[in-house]
Amino acid sequence: MTIMLYLIGVSLVMGGIGLVFFLWCLRSGQYDDMEGAANRILFDDPPAE
C-alpha cells in the first residue's frame, strides 16, 4: 500500500502547482479585465510596453 502514499503526495503536489499558478495569475491582474482579454487575442501586434 506504499504506492498510495506516493499517489497522495503526487496528487497534492500537482493540485498545489495549479493553485499557486492561479494565485499568481490573480496577483498579476489577469482577471481584472475579462472582456478586454477576450478581444485582445483577435489582434496580432501585442501592445508594446
Binding site: 494565485l23 490573480l26 478586454g36 489582434f43
Partner: protein, 806 residues
Amino acid sequence: MTPGALPRTTEWGPGACRPLAGAGQSPAASCTHCGLPVATGTSFCCPGCAAAYDTIQHLGLGRYYAQRLLDPAMRAPRPESAGRWDLARHIHTQPDGTNTLTLALDGLQCGACVWLIEQVLAREPGLSQGRVNMTTRRLRLAWRGASEQAERYVAAVERLGYRLVPFDAAALAAADDRTGRALLRALAVAGFASANVMTNSFAVWAGFAEGMGPATRSLLYWVSALIAMPAVAYAGRPFFRSALVALRAGHTNMDVPVSIGVLLVTAMSLWETLQGGRHTYFDSVVTLLFFLLIGRVLDHRARGAARATAQQLLALRATEVSVLQPDGSVRRGPQESVAPGARVLVGMGERIGVDGVVERGSAPLDASLVTGESLPVQAGPGTPVFAGTLNLGETLLLRCSATGAATLLAECVRLIEAAEARRGRYVVLADKVARLYAPVVHLCAAASFAWWWGVQGAPVGEALLIACAVLIITCPCALSLAVPAVQVIATGDLLRRGILLKSATALERLAKVDTVVFDKTGTLTEPTLALVDDPGRDPGALAVAASLAASSRHPLSRSLLAATGPVPAASDVEERPGQGLLCRTKAGEIRLGARGFAGDPAAPATGGPELWLARPGRPAVVFAFQERPRVDAATTVAGLRRAGLRVLLASGDRMAPVGRVAAALGIDDWRAEVGPTGKVALIESLRAQGRGVLMVGDGLNDAPSLAAASVSMSPASAADISQTVADVVFQGRALAPVGMVLRAARRAGAVMRQNLALSLLYNAVMLPLAMAGQVTPWLAAAAMSGSSLLVIANSFRARVREGGAA
C-alpha cells in the same frame, strides 16, 4: 459603396466600417472615421475625423477600420473640442518617480478601439504603460518624467475621437478590487481543498464496500484533515468575519449558521479522526465553502458592476468650470470649488456648471433638461440661469449666485433627499429568507441532539455527529447561489442591450412594479421636434434651409436636419445669436431664423415653434414644428398595458400638448401642469395604495419623483442629476428598454423564487433524513453538490431572450 467615397489607401477593404444591423445607414453615406451620416460623395463628416483618419493611416494602423464593429448605441468616435481638464490634480506620483493617471474612457466601441488606443499610446515617447480596461472602460497611464506630459498623451487619444475624463475614485475602486481578489483567492483555496479531500473520500467510500482496513482509512482521514483545516481557516474568513460583525451588532445573518456549522463540523471530524472513527465530514465542509464562495463571488460581481457603472456615469458627467480670476486670467476647476460671487465664463456649446446671473453677453439657452421646456430661452444681462442649461450662443460671463436653498438645483436635491428618506431601505429577498432560516436550522440541530442524547440514550459523540449532519445538510449553499447567479446573468444580458442597472437591488424591485409613470418631454417624446408637413411649401426651400441649418447647434436647426437627413453645409454661414442664420450669396442674403429676423410679421401664428426662411425675391417660407413621440412609444405603452400594468403620464407642460401626446399614445390617465412636488405627491399616493411604481423621466424636475418611486429609469440623454438618482439608465432612441427591463425583471424574479423553492425543497427532504441519523457523509456531499448545480443550471433560464437591440 461608390468609388468616389473610397479613400486613397490600400488598407481600406470592402468590409470596413460596418455599422451593426439596424444602424440604418449604408456605408457610402457614412463618415469613414466615425460612421455618422455624411452627404454622398464626401468621406468625412468634419475636419476632426479627417485628421484622425490621417493620423491612424500615418501610424500604419489602418487595419483598425477593417476590424472594428461600430455600435450604434455608443457615442460615435467623432473628435470634439472638449473642455480642457486640470489633469495635474488627478496624477499620482509613486515613490519611484512614476506618474500614474486613470481616466474614464467614453466612446469605446469594440476590441479594435482598445487595440488602436494602445497602439497609438505605445508610439508616444516616455510612456511606460497605456492600458485600457475594457470591462470598466478605463484607461491607465504610467510614465516617468514631467507630469505635464499627461496633456500630450490625453490629446493623442482624444484626437482619435474618444473622450477622456480624469477619474477621481481611484482609491475607492482599488479597495473594491481588493475584496474581489480576496474572495477569488479563498475560492481557489476552497476548490483545491475540496478536490483533494474528495479524492480521499471516494477511496474511503469505496473502501467500505471493498473492506479497507482501519489503518488505511485513518491515514486518509489524517491527510484530509491536514488539507481541510488550513483551507477552512483561510477560505472561511469572509463568512466568519461577516458573522462576527452581525453578532456584535446583535442580530443574525446567513453567515452565522454557516460559520457555526463549518467550525462545529470541522472540530467534530477532527475528533472522529483522533478516535479512529468511521465517518468524517471534511469533504462536505470544504465543498460547502467552495459553493458558498461561488455565490459570494457572483454577488460581488453583480454589485461591483452596478457600482462601476454608477461611478463611470458620474465621472463622465463631471464638469469643470472656467473661473475668471481678478487678475484677468482664467482657471479651470471643479464646480464645487466655485465660491458664490465668483465670475464664470461659459463658452458656446458648453453646459453651464453653476447657478448664477448673466453679467455680460446674451445667448439662447437650451434649458430642456432643467425645465422640460423644449424651446431655447434667450438670456441677457440680469437673467438668472441654472446649472445644467446648455449655452447655444456666444460666450457668457456669469456671476455665481449664492448657493442658498433658493436655487432650483438645491431645491431638487432637498426634495430628493426627503423622498429617499421616506422610501426607506429595501430588504432584499435573500435577507428575508435568511432571517427565518437561521433560527429554524439551529433549533433543528439542537432538537436532534437532545432527542438522540437525552431520549434515545445515544453516546454524546454520536448525538453530536447527527447534529452536525443536520447543520451540514441545511447549510444554505444552494440558497446563497439562488439570487446572485440570476442577477449576474440578467444584468449582463441587459448591459449588452444598452441598459445599465446601477443598483444591485433594482432587478428585484422592478419585478414588483405594477404602475408606470412617464414624464412627457424627452421621455415619451423625442429630444428633437418634428417638422409639420405642409403640402403648399416650396420643396426647394427645405433643402436651402437645411444647408444653412447644418452649421448650427440650435435645437430647431437640428430638428430641421433630422427631417431632411444629412445635407452638405452651406459655406460662409454667420450665426446671429438669438435671431438666426445668415448666408450671403451673389443674389443676396438668405436668412433662416425667428419671425422677426427672416419671417413675415403679418402671417398667422402657427401655435408652436417655427423657423422662417427668407430668400431674395421670394416670399418667406415658414417651417412649423411640434413634439413627436418616440418611434416606439405607442407600442411600448400598449405592450405595458397588455402586460397588466397601469400607465400614467405626469408632465409639467401645459394641458394641450400633454393631452395631445396622451391621446396619441392611448394613455387615458394623464396629469398636466404638475410641478416636481406634485409628481412626488402623485407617486407617494400611488405607493400608499400598495402599488409598485416605476418612474421614467429625464429632467431635473423629474429627479425628486425618480427618487420617490419604488424604482426609476432615465434615458442616457437625461439631466446629470436624474441619471445619478435613477436605478436604471438606458441608451438609444427607443423606449422599448422600459418594457424589456420589466419583462427581464419579472422573469428573473420568477427564476429567483424557483431557485429558492428548489433549495428549500431540498432541505425539506434532507432535513428529516439527517435528523433521523440516516445521512452518511457521501450522501451529504452528493445531495449538497447536486442541489447547488441544479440551482446554477436553473439560473440560466433568466437570460433575456427578446431579440433586437434597443
